[in-house]
Assembly symmetry: C2
Homo-oligomer: 430 residues x 2
């Protein structure tokens, strides 16, 4: 006879999450039951079958889904909050490439990635899509460090075979050979970490490189991440590099890396023309909206309302170090803020985002890229944050949605009492 141990427990507290973009689902003073890493249900009183399971009592605290960072750069963490006076291409050349070059040195990589990972695990993020650098060894190191945290992450060795400094430039064949080797080493080595294909962006990847990555994507059934239509000069550059296409998205489509060969997330989409938007929608491409990054690099404001109206797949990204903060709460706030400025200054037809919509994007919206993630509906993976929002003092009484809104605006990385990913308690809070 075979016995399988099923892990079961419950968290007790004030539960709030998103099923839809329109409103929060609230369960005051209730039990959130986890069975084998997934949400089994929410109960005001535990039913008989769960009466003896362990209960972690967080009465009076908020329990919300873990936050999903759809787009960030591990090696750039060191220069977040620095040199914010440039636009994309100059910023890459002056700040980013020199810093990324340092990750050929394993000692430096260890030092820098340790800081990045330590801060990530301390924050509210439970899952992230992360760019590493072109360096295979440093990328594996980052994956090793992340694996130990219990966070579920997709990590990408970057591919670049043109338009970047020699110290980062790969030969196309070598880039693919290294990527294949890296995939073979990492695809089944981790419990929490999976590799994600990562052509940096079109200007630094030849069409042949993209086509080879498309083959790998299909062969290994992998997700893929890149950047799209972030900055106007970048878009002009893509037009020069690939004159026969109508838009930036089509250049990726030509390379086979725009959703037809596997799941794709594209960061930014600030200036996507209508045809590109439709291509993304048709191909099921995810959009990682990165409002702080788009502000800091003077890129502009993405028309997220348009993407929501089209029922496209959208999540949020911190995009460090163009974004200065690793907090998806802060990203939610900025998503609302810049949507207001866009509405006021650019297009009065696109209504600002609500806080409910921003929270949806930072949980269930981005979570969909990871499967059934980012909500407390039945069978969703059990990613939960417990927020001790009492610490944000208030002289009166507040509703659950008000308490969540205050956590989003005011917690600033503080007041996390516990964090669970797929049912596992994250050690930093254990």
């Amino acid at each position: 006879m075979l016995y399988i141990k099923i892990e079961r427990f419950a968290l007790k507290g004030d539960i709030i999450y998103s099923e839809t973009q329109e409103k929060f689902t609230c369960n005051e003073d209730s039990f959130l039951v986890c069975v084998d890493g997934r949400v089994e249900g929410i109960y005001k009183v535990l039913p008989d079958c769960f009466i003896n399971i362990p209960v972690k009592d967080y009465t009076g605290k908020l329990i919300i889904p873990g936050l999903i960072d759809m787009h960030t750069h591990g090696p750039q963490y060191s220069f977040r909050g620095l040199g914010m006076d440039l636009e994309l291409i100059d910023w890459l050349n002056k700040n980013t490439f020199p810093e990324e070059g340092k990750f050929s040195d394993a000692v430096y990589a260890q030092k820098a990635y340790s800081i990045f990972v330590k801060e990530l695990v301390k924050g509210a993020t439970t899952r992230a899509c992360i760019y590493a650098t072109v360096h295979m060894e440093a990328t594996k190191l980052l994956m090793d460090l992340l694996e130990l945290t219990g966070l579920k992450c997709m990590v990408g060795k970057v591919n670049m075979d043109r338009n970047c400094p020699d110290y980062l430039k790969e030969d196309m064949q070598e880039s693919i050979a290294n990527t294949r080797e890296w995939l073979q080493e990492t695809l089944h080595s981790y419990k929490n970490i999976v590799p994600i294909l990562t052509p940096r962006f079109f200007p630094s990847c030849s069409e042949s490189l993209l086509k080879e990555l498309a083959v790998l994507q299909k062969e290994f059934n992998l997700p893929l991440q890149s950047h799209l239509s972030e900055n106007k000069s970048e878009i002009e550059w893509v037009k020069e590099l690939c004159p026969d296409t109508n838009n930036y998205g089509e250049a990726y489509e030509l390379g086979g890396v725009f959703g037809k060969n596997g799941p794709v997330v594209m960061a930014h989409c600030v200036h996507s023309p209508a045809e590109e938007v439709m291509l993304m929608k048709d191909n099921g491409v995810f959009i990682a909206h990165c409002p702080e990054s788009n502000t800091n690099l003077s890129s502009g404001i993405a028309p997220v309302r348009t993407y929501l109206d089209h029922k496209m797949k959208v999540g949020l990204g911190t995009d460090m170090a163009a974004g200065s903060s690793n907090s998806i709460f802060k990203t939610m706030v900025m998503a609302v803020q810049v949507s207001k400025l866009r509405w006021r200054l650019v297009d009065g037809n696109l209504k600002p985002l609500t806080i409910e919509e921003a929270f949806y994007l930072g949980t269930k919206g981005g979570g969909a890229f990871f499967g059934k993630v980012g909500s407390f509906e039945k069978d969703y993976e059990f990613d939960a944050l417990v927020m001790d929002d009492d610490k944000i003092e208030h002289p009166g009484l507040l509703t659950l949605p008000q308490r969540l809104e205050r956590v989003i605006y005011l917690s600033e990385g503080r007041h996390i009492a516990a964090k669970f990913v797929a049912g596992k308690n994250i050690f930093a809070f254990d």
Copy 2:
């Protein structure tokens, strides 16, 4: 023979501050000498005359001027981060007035103001211009609480005699009589706190009320604060209320409260037409730029570059609760950020603010409203913050300006090791 005890001490650390908007003044590993509450000088080696003074050793830490909040609302602290889906007039009616009404109750006022003051003293602000409510008793309570902190603040009992709910509306004569009584009680009662005249904004103050306040301003030689050209509907409303004037500023000028009878600070100035700008400049009116507030209420983005080009007096304001944060560091970041969006989306001729300019605005720019405040030049009042920026980990070496930039972007209210106001150590850090 008369002996006067002169207090003298020095702080040792990495000193950085603004003399001009263009660049930081840096003194690595130096002594900042305080004599009788003012900056005496900065020395690499202490001169003989100071060889025996007490030295607080903050080696390796950043020493910067205290931050100046030119505009905030004490009673609104409770609903910061809440109900951010409205524009100014609706937001006042739905959120602000009902909350301010509660301050007729001394018990509630004590509870709410205690939270506001506790958080203010814990943060990086050393001086602030603060709106209270129309209630005299609660306003005195706020002043009492602030006095104990050692922060130097200007606090205003609000005046309103029209266009507000009955529970807040004052009769004009009663408003002036109460204000006179409040001034007599508070003008010389505090060491750190001074009253500031506070007509809420033109729509809620009759011309006669303004004229009486102008008399008080002259008689008592007082500063005055109000709001100007924040929101387009508000500006239209002022035009209806005061049809014979060419702009909102002229309506205040007509009331005698626009700088001719004493120092005035006006919050916002988002949509000020050229004539209003010139009137402000001619009258020496200070502008409190409140970028987070202007974003959250969808007001727009103030053309701060224009004001700097005109060499006008500008500082920064958090404007809680339209702003969610009490941090002037965060306000500096948002000042830079929204200036980039304005440049990208509205007017490519007005270059974005630099971090040097934003820091200047939040220290010496706003400090000028308080006298010689906000810099470490000789004879400036000794307001200093000691920042333990080592806690914001970095894998390499950083210059002083880089360390300051990281503090501004990343400290999020943390890492304050000490705070001094006019030479006094603030107890929360003592």
